[in-house]
Amino acid sequence: MLAAALGVVLLSSIVYSAFLLGLVFLSIAGFYILLNAGFVAAAQVLVYVGAVNVLILFGIMLVNKQEDFRPLPHALLGKLATGAVCAGLFALLGTTVVSTPWAISSEVAIGDRAIEAIGMHFFSDFLLPFELASVLLLIALVGAIILARREFIPDLDAAAEEQVLTLPERPRELVAAGVNESDSE
């Protein structure tokens, strides 16, 4: 999983990164299974691998622009700064993990009964975050529909955008039906 996660960040091919991200999500599901949380593992696979990762791949494949990046000036300096920030963050999180007195429960994991427990929590003490999440999704849905409806976007802007994003041999209308529908999921 660590190798896959490093691959996501370090590989220059964005498609490889996206596929490796799927591998990372699957490995996290494996962790959940080891923690005796089968339902959470299956939900992880369904939501992250089956929906989020597929959407990312969709996005990449619809907008894959074959373009080499221009070498930036002072690229090494930027990389060093990024590396330093990441190392600092890692050290900070590491010390937090080690120094926090975790309240580790000694109870046996409930395993298959977890579905009922999760449901009870959702409809009692976690009702507000649960409902807020659905409102958030609704907002995203409405936003996606408004973006997908072309008449709200100025014509000039849309034309300019299309020229940049469309490959000469790939007509945009054919695939646009697919991405609109999957966006509104």
């Binding site: 089956g50 929906a51 999921e185």
Partner: protein
């Protein structure tokens, strides 16, 4: 309910009587049902390929395969051998890693899903609590393999086919899951064993198809779309896309797609049989037959007969559905991609939501019939 025969328990206790530790005995048991299920799934490919060819031939007033084996039953084996001996070609500018991984990722989840298919009260590889949810989440991995295959082939037809396949399966997954949710709500459990158990007792009258007719139709349509069967075989629409994401594949890599699609069809038919057609239960409950014959339910020979009948019933139901799928293929024309997505999002999704709501209401008002 009568537990029926429990092969695992018998096997493990026999081995522990022979002096083996309990853990080792269980370890020895684990691969047996898995291997058996793998073999059964592989044989089911041969059966369904043969059925497909014979029924298609009959629908078109041809004879179909007839030389390889009696009535051509070994035709699928001949096809398989041909595919194995074909040269394995990777296109010049294709991405070799993704090109090889794609078919594997398509096939593996389908075979993994056989974990939860029960053929009897104790005849299932594992009765895990999340049961049917495992199948839904595993089947959502498949689009990644399809996208991988479509992208890496370096071919416009393949890319379009892969994108179509992924769009199709993520759209139809939602009505599918909502239809399953209505059944789960009636059962109060995700386990496939419990779902079948809740339908048994009244014979054919207790099956979920009478209580969930709308759910059954939605599930069957969505399952056909997930399997990319006609009328939903847009990803490989021959007239438009050559063969979709499979265009560049030869040899056994193509064979894997082929195997995956047929196993997926059989798997979907099995799941429909379990969810809506009472799984392994007979049209007349086995308990009442035993009562009429005056035999106790725990008689050994009756249990063996009941287990055998259960397996046969499950397979009969599943292959009846496969037969319907093949007939549909020669009856219904292919839909267009916009019609497909319209049907999925604007018709099946609202209808399945209403079905879920109606099931919840009926469960509250009529708890004796809809599982209180």
């Amino acid at each position: 309910m009568n537990p029926g025969i429990d092969l695992q328990h018998t096997f493990v206790s026999t081995l522990t009587d022979l002096g083996l530790p309990l853990g080792l005995a269980k370890l020895l048991w684990i691969p047996l049902p898995m291997a058996l299920m793998l073999i059964a799934a592989t044989v089911s490919i041969f059966v369904s390929v043969w059925l497909e060819r014979k029924i298609s031939a009959a629908a078109q007033q041809r004879i179909g395969p007839e030389y390889v084996g009696p009535l051509g039953v070994l035709q699928a084996a001949a096809d398989g051998v041909k595919l194995i001996f074909k040269e394995d070609i990777t296109p010049a500018k294709a991405d070799p890693w993704l090109f090889t991984l794609g078919p594997a990722i398509v096939v593996i989840p389908v075979f993994l899903s056989f974990l939860i298919v029960p053929f009897g009260q104790n005849m299932v590889i594992t009765d895990i609590g999340i049961g049917i949810f495992l199948w839904i989440s595993l089947s959502s991995i498949t689009p990644i393999g399809l996208l991988m295959a479509g992208y890496s082939s370096n071919n416009k037809y393949s890319l379009l086919g892969g994108l179509r396949a992924a769009a199709q399966s993520i759209s139809y997954e939602i009505p599918l899951a909502l239809a399953v949710l209505a059944v789960v709500m009636m059962t109060n459990s995700l386990s496939t064993i419990d779902i079948v158990g809740q339908q048994s007792g009244y014979g054919i009258l207790g099956w979920n198809i009478w209580r969930q007719p709308v759910g059954f139709l939605i599930f069957w349509i969505a399952a056909l779309a997930e399997c990319e069967r006609l009328p939903f075989d847009l990803p490989e629409a021959e007239e438009e896309l050559v063969a979709g994401y499979q265009t560049e594949y030869t040899g056994m890599k193509f064979g894997l797609f082929y195997v995956g699609s047929y196993v997926n069809l059989v798997l979907s038919a099995l799941i429909v049989a379990i969810l809506y057609l009472g799984g392994w239960s007979l049209p007349v409950p086995i308990e009442s037959i035993a009562g009429w014959l005056g035999v106790s339910e725990t008689t050994p020979w009756l249990q063996v007969v009941a287990a055998g009948l259960g397996i046969v019933m499950t397979l009969i139901k599943a292959y009846l559905l496969v037969f319907i799928a093949i007939l549909l293929r020669w009856t219904v024309p292919r839909v267009r991609i916009d019609q497909l997505l319209d049907l999925g999002w604007k018709f099946l999704l609202p209808v399945s939501l209403v079905n879920l709501l109606a099931t919840a209401a009926l469960k509250l008002t009529l708890p004796f019939a809809f599982g209180g």
